[in-house]
């Protein structure tokens, strides 16, 4: 994130007016482990350090390490919850949030994190997840059923056209709910959700995709055969890495892939018990137990009643 001088100065002022040097160092250590203010400033232990000096050094280091969003998130927690039973009021926090908003980041009150404004940018890490950072994601896996049959019968060009449409639908359903499509393999996709009610968002995105496909297959499909998908949602911890191949090897990803291929019938969305437990009743009631023996997944599909 590019940090303008005005934002940097605003943050420095807020810090030295709100916290002493010891507390400033403690907050910095939450973001940069083993942060040693005196070593960084060169101040010997026996000389007291002014808050202004400490704030200036810490903000410069935080900006240098591209951790400003993480640091301000930590300040927001301190302002809201205090520390060790004592309250700390961080002055000017509202103005700092505004300045960060002007740089294209929105505050997500659900997770207490900034995320990039989707009207400005849509990057795979929401513009702020660090390499190696481990967080709890919710994943939506989508796979085209009978892919090889479609390619064989209708040809690669026609199949590619239909899959391009599918890809656009998946992106639309996911990104409308703050999700990101992490991978697209030509006939399947993986979308990740982190912000807001991430599990609910991923489930709603999966349901919306089945609805879009229902209309697409009737009104817009040009290959003369319905495009059918299996979709699955699962949640769990993932270490974010720049190489998507490395992410896909992690257990939460493997589990969602298994859930899709093993427990999910075509034209359906399955959710794992971990996801089901987070859903509101009005959405959960749309799901039924899987008919597969040994499966604890719940299944949603679009069904029409009698005429």
């Amino acid at each position: 994130m590019k940090v303008r001088g005005a934002l940097s100065q605003m943050l420095k002022k807020s810090l030295y007016e709100s916290l002493n040097a010891d507390m400033l160092e403690r907050v910095a250590q939450d973001v940069i482990p083993d942060y040693d203010l005196r070593r960084r400033t060169g101040f010997p232990p026996n000389i007291p350090m002014q808050g202004q000096t400490a704030a200036s050094r810490i903000v410069d280091d935080i900006v240098e390490e591209d951790l400003l969003l993480h640091f301000v998130e930590r300040l927001a927690i301190l302002d809201k919850e205090g520390f060790m039973g004592r309250s700390y009021r961080i002055g000017g926090l509202r103005e700092i949030f505004k300045a960060i908003g002007a740089e294209g980041f929105l505050w997500d009150s659900e997770t207490g994190r900034f995320m990039e404004d989707p009207r400005i940018r849509r990057s795979q890490n929401w513009g702020r997840i660090l390499h190696g950072e481990e967080l709890r994601f919710s994943l939506l896996r989508v796979d085209v059923a009978k892919n090889s049959h479609i390619v064989k019968v209708h040809g690669e060009t026609a199949a590619r056209g239909a899959y391009d449409d599918l890809r656009a639908m998946i992106a639309r359903c996911a990104e409308r709910r703050s999700g990101r499509v992490w991978s697209w393999e030509g006939d399947g996709a993986l979308a990740a959700f982190l912000f807001g009610h991430s599990t609910t968002s991923s489930v709603l995105a999966g349901m919306a995709l089945l609805h879009e496909l229902f209309i697409y297959n009737r009104a817009y499909n040009r290959i003369g055969e319905p495009v059918r998908v299996r979709a699955a949602v699962h949640t769990g911890p993932i270490r974010y890495l720049p190489d998507i191949g490395e992410i896909l090897k992690q257990e939460t990803c493997r589990e969602v892939f298994e859930s899709e291929s093993r427990w999910t019938p075509p034209d359906s969305l399955s959710i794992s018990p971990a996801v089901a437990g987070t859903l509101d009743r009005v959405i959960l009631d749309r799901f039924s137990p899987s008919l597969e023996s040994g499966s604890r997944a719940l299944i949603y599909s679009v069904g029409l009643g009698a005429g």
């Binding site: 449409d165 009104a219 040009r222 509101d280 009743r281 009005v282 959405i283 009643g305």
Partner: protein, 327 residues
């Protein structure tokens, strides 16, 4: 039906000549430049049959044709006046419904030739799914837009009564105050929704809203759009209206005539069709499906027709109704 031709030069005289000798009189024809096609197709392509000039190159033609995927376009074809295409089948693989080679381009369409293309595209006989209703003034594309209509004039329109479903049950579960707010929110929600289909929220009553749509599609087909809302009812209830209880909708379509008055100034309108549309929505429509009078049957797109079946008579008119989605 509109014919839209996409070419490098919209002033191309050969294309104009072909269009004028090939398509029936009364068919609106327009040539647009490929440079602006992506921008204007959303407005002009719904309900139209689109031809691309093969001189644009096959990759460019297929790229532009892909923009039609999400639009309710009748079909598309290629005009290859110089026989430049080395592989015309590639167009059909990409979804084309017609190909006009050099000789045919020179001679123009004979009788029935364009109908054959429409039949191949799956357009029902008569050229369209939403032909003019009650022979209103002007043909497709002649609708001037609601603000341009002169108050007091007689117009042909499609009516749609839309309401929240199962309101009695909702009253018990969320209370009168929240139900009133929900009705308000639903009416506000219908404003942009109807606009996507060229429509307008016209009159509100205690339970729902009477919407007007142009006699022919101007944007998305309104029955298809209503069907989408029924599919998405759980998502809309939860994400848009923040309800913790299930939500459903009811839709009733009718076509006919009325005196045009702007919304809010409709108190003195006397129209049999307006009365019928309200009766249809209030008494014959049911939760979770679409009902349509036989007058509006042509508004149901062919892609959804198999989901509709006869549903008896109401006040002297036969009805059709859609299947419901399972809860």
């Amino acid at each position: 039906m509109n014919i839209l031709i996409c070419a490098a030069d919209p002033a191309d005289k050969a294309l104009s000549a072909f269009a004028s000798r090939s398509f029936p009189s009364g068919t609106a024809r327009e040539i647009v430049a490929d440079a602006v096609f992506s921008r204007v197709c959303r407005k002009k392509a719904p309900g139209a049959f689109v031809y691309f000039d093969a001189g644009l190159g096959s990759d460019r033609v297929i790229e532009l044709a892909s923009k039609l995927d999400s639009l309710d376009c009748r079909g598309w074809g290629v005009l290859d006046r110089r026989g430049e295409s080395t592989d015309p089948a590639a167009y059909f693989f990409a979804g084309a419904c017609d190909y006009v080679g050099a000789a045919l381009f020179k001679s123009g369409f004979g009788p029935g030739r364009f109908d054959d293309a429409l039949a191949f595209a799956g357009v029902p006989e008569g050229g369209g799914e939403t032909e003019p209703i009650a022979a209103g003034p002007g043909g497709r594309g002649s609708f001037p837009g609601w603000p341009a209509l002169e108050e007091g004039t007689d117009i042909a329109v499609r009516f749609c009564y839309a309401a929240i479903g199962n309101q009695k049950n909702l009253l018990e579960r969320i209370g009168e105050k929240r139900l009133d707010k929900l009705r308000e929110d639903f009416a506000a929600f219908l404003e942009p929704w109807s606009k996507e289909c060229g429509g307008i929220v016209w009159i509100r009553d205690n339970a729902g809203c009477l919407l007007l749509f142009p006699p022919q599609d101007e944007g998305m087909n309104p029955v298809l759009a209503a069907f989408r809302l029924l599919l998405d009812r759980a998502l809309i209830g939860y994400e848009v209206f923040k309800l913790e209880v299930p939500l459903s909708f009811r839709f009733a379509f009718h076509a006919g005539r009325t005196t045009w008055q702007r919304p809010g100034a409709t108190g003195k309108i006397v129209s049999e069709d307006v009365n019928f549309a309200f009766h249809l929505g209030g008494k014959a429509a049911g939760d979770g499906y679409i009902v349509s009078s036989s007058d509006a049957e042509k508004a149901v797109p062919s892609s959804l027709r198999d989901l509709f079946s006869a549903a008896g008579d109401f006040e002297g008119r036969s009805l059709i109704a859609s299947r419901r989605f399972k809860d």
